[in-house]
Symmetry: C2
Subunit: 260 residues, 2 copies
Amino acid sequence: MAAARGKPASTPAVRPGRIVAKGEGAALSADAIVDAALELTEREGAGALTVRRLGSELGVDATAFYRHFRDKDELVLAVSDRIIAMTLDVVVESDDWRETLRSITSAAYVINLRYPAVTSITFARITGGRAERAIVEKILATISRAGLSPAETALYYRAIVDAMLSLSGQAAAVANLEPAVRAKDESAWTQIYGLLSQSDYPITGAHAKELAALSEQDVFETIIEAVIEAIAARAAATSPQPAARKSRAKQSSRREEELN
Amino acid sequence: MAAARGKPASTPAVRPGRIVAKGEGAALSADAIVDAALELTEREGAGALTVRRLGSELGVDATAFYRHFRDKDELVLAVSDRIIAMTLDVVVESDDWRETLRSITSAAYVINLRYPAVTSITFARITGGRAERAIVEKILATISRAGLSPAETALYYRAIVDAMLSLSGQAAAVANLEPAVRAKDESAWTQIYGLLSQSDYPITGAHAKELAALSEQDVFETIIEAVIEAIAARAAATSPQPAARKSRAKQSSRREEELN
DNA sequence: ACCTGAACACCGTTCAAGT
DNA sequence: ACCTGAACACCGTTCAAGT
């Protein structure tokens, strides 16, 4: 809608010629397209992420896109890698590997939900890009500090990452729903499950209020915490220093350093 | 392709008239459309689940569909509820609430993956249907047996269900990829991450072989097991009978009955 | 009461043509 | 070297018309 070719009426001081309405005068490039895709999808939601819409946003024909990306899939993976880069930017490293994992996973969750249109398409994909390689190395290095075997380190790496990505994907899918559909689903615990016959669904009835009160982020953190605890339990069970066994209780992160 | 109107050449003994090629002569109905959607999507994959394709499969005009469902979303939720019913059919109840949760979650995972096209659309949705209400009641009843407070029962219900659904959705999204794209992504641990510079990505290099060897189902079970252990740990920490504290070690399921 | 079929407003993508 | 624009083969959905 904004800068469609042929009606630049609302744009003041339009220069003549072919490449007129291009935002800020930047030349079309892969990076400029990724920028526009991020900005457009955050501003207008999942429905706006089309090749045609991107073209009109950048003031070029829709098909100019194919000069810079093989197809839409390649663009979406590039955008995803940029989102991972943003995640890495806000991660806080800690001496405690548990705290570092919490920082990485919650940063990923929050930032993925700023871009649900992209997240819902890429949460089961591999970008292979620079940021993805960096976050893989960082998560593996963090889990390695717990002291598991290589096979268990790999298994729990995947457990953490798949939980983080799949729950982000699920929350993103909810965010992408049309508002009316989303409202219907979100009110289910009070509007559907809260009104069921107590004799047919007694346990549901007994928990409907508590279920309605939960936030998606609480659930996310509960699952991540369960996986972190599983790593700690495995580490304690296989630790070469039996003295470290009783680190179950909360201690100051100073004390944890000895384990890393 | 199969029973498209106008070329019933391959179908023998075709009756004349308007409602000719309708499969098995059954009248068009919501149930028949759900049947056809399940069968079609399992046989031909995600791309086949369109209103037009469903019409030609059933030997009717594509838009006849709108006589029985408000829109495609309503159909997809009805199909999803049928998939939940299939899951309930294979669940094995155990005296041990942990075993019952394992049975429910792994049944859901396996059956969801038989219908990835539907699962990838519905894994973040609420059907509100009969089967969904039954599985909600069953999972809540099972977790209740662990002896948590109502608030914690609700929290861990959501943790188990969200993990189960979101990981099913992620695996389904992978299954829906075009074969070439899927093969590229699945070979990433050997083709991309296995070939990185050892000096830039030392930890990744040290774990690439182990990462490539993991199956998605192993990861699924690891996450579910972590949540089950978290429930058991909370139950042990808040148990009214301190004698039950040492139920950590594996015991015969006979003994567990006392806790339920 | 139920089904048909033309039509609408979209998609991603290809390709010959322009500059 | 890069962009244009017509065209292709699709989508979900609406609606007046048929039986």
